[in-house]
Amino acid sequence: MEETLAELRETFKSRRTRPVAWRKKQLNAILNLIHDNEDLIFKALYKDLGKHPTEAFRDEVGVVEKSVRDSLSCLEKWVAPKKRPLPLVFFPARGEVLPEPLGVVLIFSSWNFPIILALEPVIGAVSAGNAVVLKPSELAPACSKFLKETIPLYLDKQAIRVIDGGADVGEKLLNLKWDKIFFTGSPRVGRIVLTAAAKHLTPVTLELGGKCPAILDTISNSAEMKVAVKRIAGGKWTPHIGQACIAIDYVLVQEHCAPTLIELLKKSIREFYGENPKDFKSISRIVNKHHFERVHNLLKDPEVASSIVHGGSVDEEKLFIEPTILVNPPLDSEIMTEEIFGPLLPIITLKDIEESIEFINSRPKPLVIYAFTKDEAFKRKVLSETSSGGVTFNDAIIQFICDSLPFGGVGQSGFGRYHGKYSFDTFSHEKAVLYRNFFPEIGPRYPPWNAFKLLFIRLIYRYDYVGLLLLLLGLKRY
């Protein structure tokens, strides 16, 4: 591993990764990798996670393609130095901010979206001109193997490497000195990454998770209510059966709307997965036994089990857990304190929908808050009185593909952001550059100091040009 790092440092030092042509070549290579191997990718995703090709395209393959195309078309603009205006007192001078790559970066990706969460940061790192080591998650072994074998066939081996393995490999990598670490995963491991990075003063971006709430306000128009609930159902179960950092974790709704909500949710589940979801091809599985037991255990608490109003069945062999709806499980139960990351949807009823704000604020800051409402005043309240990575009104998950919006958390849900230009920026150092001329020379800058010089500089700092003129003409007292 030290050898790999040393080789990549040499490559970076040789400035091989700097020219825009090299970066575009890598981006095009990623595009070709995806096009040529689409079937293999679908197979690997199905093997690791039971993901249907349409879901795999929508959430992984399609997003990678889109991201590469956007980066290719904007790269020249991103790489260009940005001129900065300077106040007159600095004349003649020129200021600019010049983005430059950080060096050799380490990217850890997660198992739930093993292709997009690996490649999206790589796209950013490579656009910014860095050398990259990618460590995919061992919990998605077919995808990890695919990346390890295919990336060297398309991307520049001297600058981009894949190192696979388990937690021990991750630990060894963290002991080395990197110029940037990008981590997607759980807060628990995020802490380990940040602690290791602190030793080397390495900057870090952490994309973590949290409990993403959905607030459902009363919507009088029944057609719109149906759409809202369908989107909630989609936001819970369609991203990999709830195993997504931006999946809806729980719903907050006013008491009197709860029965309608439950009916419409059940209807959506039937529409998506038929009468017997277990037998259905479009449904993903839980990734492995450990997570299956973790999610299943959430239901074992008797008070939680008694709050189930739909679903609840499991099939351990197939790692299947049925889309399940619960109403008002105890707030101190694990299902309400830990991130669910599975197909269980608790509904919490409130007397007044405005209570949802206090409810959310008394818990760690989530990655996203979803609010379904037509009340403009309530929207403003949600925006200004809560804090989260992002907010999406009247839909779910779709913000992930808006490249012009920064994607990232705050507080416990992480820090740093990416997607689109934010990926480029996250892997860049924005270097400030000031160009000065030798003329004119300003005598008062230099010692020995005196009252005249002091006043002169005070006036300059205030941009008081009239005062300066008067001073120079001898018309101002000092």
């Binding site: 300077l86 128009n221 057609a223 808006c402 400030a432």
Partner: protein, 429 residues
Amino acid sequence: KTRSYDWRVTQLKNMLRMMDEREAEIIAALRDDLSKHEFESCIYEIAMLKNSCKFALKELKHWMLPEKAKTPLTSFPSSAEIVSEPLGVVLIISAWNYPFLLSLDPVVGAIAAGNAVVLKPSEIAPVTSSLLFKLVGEYLDRSSIRVIEGTVPETTALLEQKWDCPVVVDSDTNLQVTAKRIIVGKWGCNSGQTCVAPDYIITTKDYASKLVDALKHDLEQFYGKNPLESEYMSRVVNSNHFSRLTRLLDEDKVSGKIVHGGERDEKTLKIAPTILLDVPRDSLIVNEEIFGPLLPIVIVDKVEDSLDFINSSGGKPLAAYLFTNNKKLKEQFVATVSAGGLVVNDIALHLAVHTLPFGGVGESGMGSYHGKFSFDAFSHKKAVLYRSFAGEAPLRYPPYSKGKLRLMKAIFAGSIFGIISALLGWSKA
């Protein structure tokens, strides 16, 4: 309460008022702690902070507005924006060399962004630390902004950060102006105890003696024949640092290289502006951060070699400087030297430019501030997406089918024709 525009403006205005009303006390504190001349205090600490406040006051409404963002075809119909929100309660730890500015400048950014603040000033500048405690308590909102004094083992941390700011001097330069600017940037700023002060000079064999002569000449002009007695020179902050600096000077391979200065007075903690020529590359003075009034000069054969020297010196500096008239050399320098910030033909001035981000990279630090960058440093940029209920697309939901896959591919590709043909069942999956 810290989120309201009015609260933020009140705090910033109070800070300005504090500086106007208590300027004399601030200057006295800086003189006690660092023997800083009134000039340096007024200009490098107070005036810079005032400008920071004024700039924030002027731009705050604009910074607080949400930024509109474009939305792609795939999420039509929708609108998007990025909302800046405060992070919460922030801790600011500041240094001793510009104890007033480096404490309050980040506070300006934190307040502008709407946060509550705890400030821990450096105990190595104790008089300023107490003064800050008193003034912040009097002028700013005590319920949201507090100062905590005390000892924290931060001295070692300061030394461990390599901020070695190199200055490359080309023979094709305006020597008079270059020498002056180097002097005021090095010795005129807290006697070299500044994170962006030139740490060492790199120049060619032939040019070195000319440069040394010019520096000697101007040093005498500025500080007189006995700089230890000049009131224009700050002192070394305390005896720890004084011993550290004299140790660098007394190292065997280096003590013979002194070409100017070297005098010291332990009682007043002053060291004369000292220049060393052609120091060995493995000496302590070249490899440790100096943070004092010693200026070694490293010799190279060709001026272009200096760029390699800087890039292979181990850590990326906070700032790097180049003095030259040669356009090509300027371009090479800017493109190949990685540092927090670069200045061509001057020293440290980029600090005063609010439109340039000030910060390090690699070993010299992470993040940036000044101007809007301060506001951003203390904000969370929340992504907000507004969707309408119209435009429901059944293809998002299970059960999945080849037809939905085809249509989705076409939409992602942004191809109108592809969408139409997918809808009509023409294209292949």
